[in-house]
Point group: C2
């Protein structure tokens, strides 16, 4: 995420001095060689010193660790943002770690691929995709404007909302489907154990449907636990509907079943087509 | 399904006399004009008279109706097959309708698109995809061989299994995912009703995941009811696993959750990549 952002900033010709922070010397060399950064830093102190805007481009679980590392080196007035897939709990945790006078604006650029690391980064990742901003209690209108400017400069459609709304939306449209896909693949694997070879019959439908079950287990564990309340709520809503369909099938209620399927089809067809490959991230 | 089969038979240069049965005169004209059939018939009597092999290329629900229409016109020794997505209950129902001496071999070419009708047909539909045959009680080895020959001639990989095994496999890898996708879309729609605009945030992940919820409601109603026992069994296995994941999330059991997600990822990654676009049908 960070590598693609740095590349995009440079490709857009923005007159900003970009520092990248990476523990791995090979990553620092690669980022410098690609012209993605002006400086490649090995420590939070180097990266944070004098920065106007700090982007914590890490998965949910390690964002607070990064905030803790950066905190002693951030001057009052600095704006901090992140790219985490959950926002409410995370924002409170990060703000507790940042020094007074530093402004935190939660960010969630809804873009990405199943790959990670600088080698997988590319300047076009964010173009045309959506970015949700959830200003923390410490955010000023100016801080929000500067984070908005950042993402708009690399082609994103930026929207500001409260963190609770963000977490509700993402639980339903992203976190829930992941949990469901993981459950479906595990159930199918168990069926395959009782009827060996069963999984070899899966076609494109099953594969499309379960592609997200190949997502990173630790990252999704963290998302589910960080956004626990909303994930449970969405899961319960889904389980209630699945249970209702189960009852219709068990009762042989063809009219009820057709009505339920037809309603879903209308909704599914009303969704705008996905932009090409840019929105696969949580 | 029938139009694509007829086109494929002709394109393969097979020396068979092909009759197509269609109620709609426009379809008959189109099939003749495309060179897909040698004769375009308007009635079961015309189509069945003297046929060696009859393919009922219709959705599950109307296959028995077609068998009933054809029955009086089928001579002993005729082989009948179908393309239905369920097999055990359907095979018994069809065999009850066919006259003695007619051999029924259940068929399920696992190919297709979300489109239907002759206008959507194309000769390459079946090439490289799998076809499962489930011989009925009335099937002879010769009857099975002739149906196998048909599908292999248009490029399918044919496999013979019993109808119960077919129905178990398809319930898990196809029917269950459809029910789950319908449930997920309905649950998301209900969430959208309480938080208007929620669905507008769906990205490629949600859209890929729910694409099959745009499938034909009546067709999937029929499949779920026809294969009810196996669909309920697969659904219960899935609901048990989804419930287990729910408990892990509720308990904040990060280790258990990561293990469950990682297991699914290993299974999902072990699936062979889907062939290009040919296997999207139930």
């Amino acid at each position: 995420m960070g590598g693609s952002l740095a590349r995009a900033v440079k490709e857009a010709g923005l007159p900003w001095h970009v520092r990248g922070l990476a523990r791995d010397p090979a990553t620092r060399r690669a980022a410098l060689a690609a012209g993605a950064v002006d400086e490649a830093c090995a420590t939070a102190a180097e990266a944070a010193r004098g920065a106007d805007l700090v982007v914590i481009a890490l998965p949910v679980r390690v964002i607070p660790d990064a905030a803790r590392d950066l905190a002693p080196h951030l001057a009052p007035g600095t704006v901090v943002t992140d790219v985490g897939s959950t926002k409410a709990v995370l924002t409170r945790r990060v703000e507790d770690l940042l020094p007074p006078g530093v402004h935190f604006v939660g960010g969630h650029p809804i873009a990405g691929t199943e790959e990670s690391g600088f080698a997988a980064s590319f300047a076009g990742l964010y173009r045309g995709a959506r970015c949700l901003l959830t200003p923390g209690a410490s955010a000023t209108p100016e801080a929000v404007a500067s984070v908005r400017d950042l993402w708009e400069s690399v082609g994103m459609r930026v929207e500001v909302m409260d963190a609770a709304t963000h977490d509700r939306i993402l639980a339903v449209i992203s976190h829930l489907p992941h949990v469901v896909a993981y459950a479906l693949v595990n159930a199918a694997a168990r069926a395959d154990a009782s009827l060996p070879g069963l999984l070899s019959y899966t076609g494109g439908g099953f594969r499309d449907f379960t592609r997200i079950a190949a997502s990173h287990p630790a990252m999704w564990r963290d998302i589910c636990l960080d956004n626990r309340d909303e994930v449970l709520r969405a899961l319960d809503e889904f389980l209630a509907e699945a249970g209702r369909l189960r009852s219709l099938i068990a009762a042989g209620d063809g009219a009820g079943l057709e009505e339920a399927f037809a309603a879903a089809r209308v909704v599914r067809r009303s969704l705008a087509p996905a932009p090409p490959r840019a929105e696969d991230r949580p």
